[in-house]
Amino acid sequence: MSRVPLLQVVPPGLAEEISSHLPQTLTVLLAYLVVLGVISCLAGNRFTGELSDYVTASGNLGWVVSTLTILATIWSGVALAGFPSSVYVLGGAFITSVMIGVCVSAPLLWYFGRRIWILGKEHDFNTPGDLLGGYYQSDTVRLYTVIASLFFNVAYTVAQLLAGGIVLNVLSGGILPVELGMVSIVLVVLIHITTTGVRGIAWLDTFNGLLILCVLAAFVFFITRDAGGVMGVFEGLGDQRAVHITLPGPLGIFSPLQAIAFGTIFVLGTCVVSPAVWVRMHALRSNQQLLRVTVTYLVIMTLVHVFGTYFIGTYGRVIFPDIENPDFVSSVLAFEFLPFVLASCFLVMILAAVISTADSYLHVLAVTVVRDLIRVLFVPDMEPSRELKLNYLVIVLAAGMGVVLAILYPGFITPLAVMAGGLTMQLLPLLFGAVAWPRASTEAAIIAPAAGILVLVGVRFNLFPDPFSSPLLPGLVASLLVNCLAFVLISYVTKPQPLERIEAFHGVLHKNL
């Protein structure tokens, strides 16, 4: 099939260079797959085959594993290759903006995470729909969480499959077609998820997270050495230096306020209210571990972005000022400066990030669809063993659909992914109401997100102008603002939840915080 995939994280031409060193590259790939297999076996031995173990690892994950699984889930393959390309185009302003978002998200993760964890333990909640649907006693609210989960997880899974297929194609020296690469990734991910549950996903994420950190550190070491020190990386920018290392950046789109707003909304949508991160909160062994998780998350993110992706994108600009596609900059730079085996490790690292994100998102997608849609609306008295089997079925169907979408509609994925982040953001006021604002009413929880989604869709399809024009996140600020305002106003003119429910949520939180 002659098709040019739109999410190209590595240049297809690299396959020719790799084909001349194929044994080395395949050895690196095989080594990674062996480690993956060993982790699958180890986690499979601990898997009890029960639903709670499959969904939340029986709430028994430690803080190191939890931190790395959150990081590896957020670091998608597209992001790892795409962030340096964004630095290449938008300069340091982009990384500053993302880091401000990460900074804001850390205390919010701690704030909401503790509350999600406590309510989960008290009421046996496992998903966003359990918590929000339970508090607002509304199937419509539950349905919102399912829709958000479907859009978010499908969009990001398909993006990962596309990126992974291309990486496998290049790693195999062009032997493995992109489509077959995607199918291979899906098969590996399906076997891993269904035999190990979320524990296996978290263990693999831990390994993948460490691999990503080590390879990025080596990458930065080699380019800094080549530049003759840290200062050399930036001095090489020449005439471009002034605009590249300052706000508002080369394209002039990051004023201080825009940098803060863009980063905050971007990271909140993809991290704090992301269904996969939400479910990770329930898997934590203890509420008190969340502090360690959030501080470590912030420290590692700072190191990775300020010293990793920023250096790679900037030095890419120095060495290849006229690259044909900025998305290629990190992989081209890797094969220029890293020893061949290490450069192959960089591609395997992208594949690892792809697998980590795809397995987490497929797992959460199936869990939310089965628990919050099928069980609630169609089979309320479903046995846990049947729910587990249904999870397996949904995950296979979702993975198959992902491959079909990736092959047939690759061009829809990027706009869909931006929209998906905006959809999950609409759950934020509802979460705030359920854990921190007893005045929040069910009517507000039904109407306000719908208003927010209408604004988001309206701006995206140019039905009306965006009052907070942002070329990177059209409609997101306006939709969130409309949602929050409507949520507060409607809550004040309608009845709050009954006292016993407020006691069951806010009362429990008050006692345990």
């Binding site: 500053t96 900074c103 205390p107 701690w110 002034a242 300052t246 940098a259 509420n287 700072t302 345990n512």
Partner: protein, 68 residues
């Protein structure tokens, strides 16, 4: 703690406005990245303060899990 994070937000804005626009390197790094690291540090301090307050409020320190 709301006051702390409000001050940090203001400091972030001022740092970006008055330092982040200067094409200067400090110890080899652009001043914009130094500001970014500083903001990150202030948020880490804020998180530690939050945890300290939470453990003080709960009496004899962190209790860990909910009672069964």
């Amino acid at each position: 703690m709301v006051a702390y994070f409000t001050v940090v937000a203001l400091v972030t804005y001022m740092g970006l406005e008055y330092l982040g626009t200067r094409p200067v390197l400090v110890a080899g790094l652009p001043v914009l990245m130094v500001v970014t690291r500083g903001v990150s540090l202030l948020f880490i301090v804020g998180l530690l303060l939050l945890a300290h307050r939470a453990s003080r409020r709960s009496g004899s320190g962190p209790s860990g899990d909910l009672p069964e």
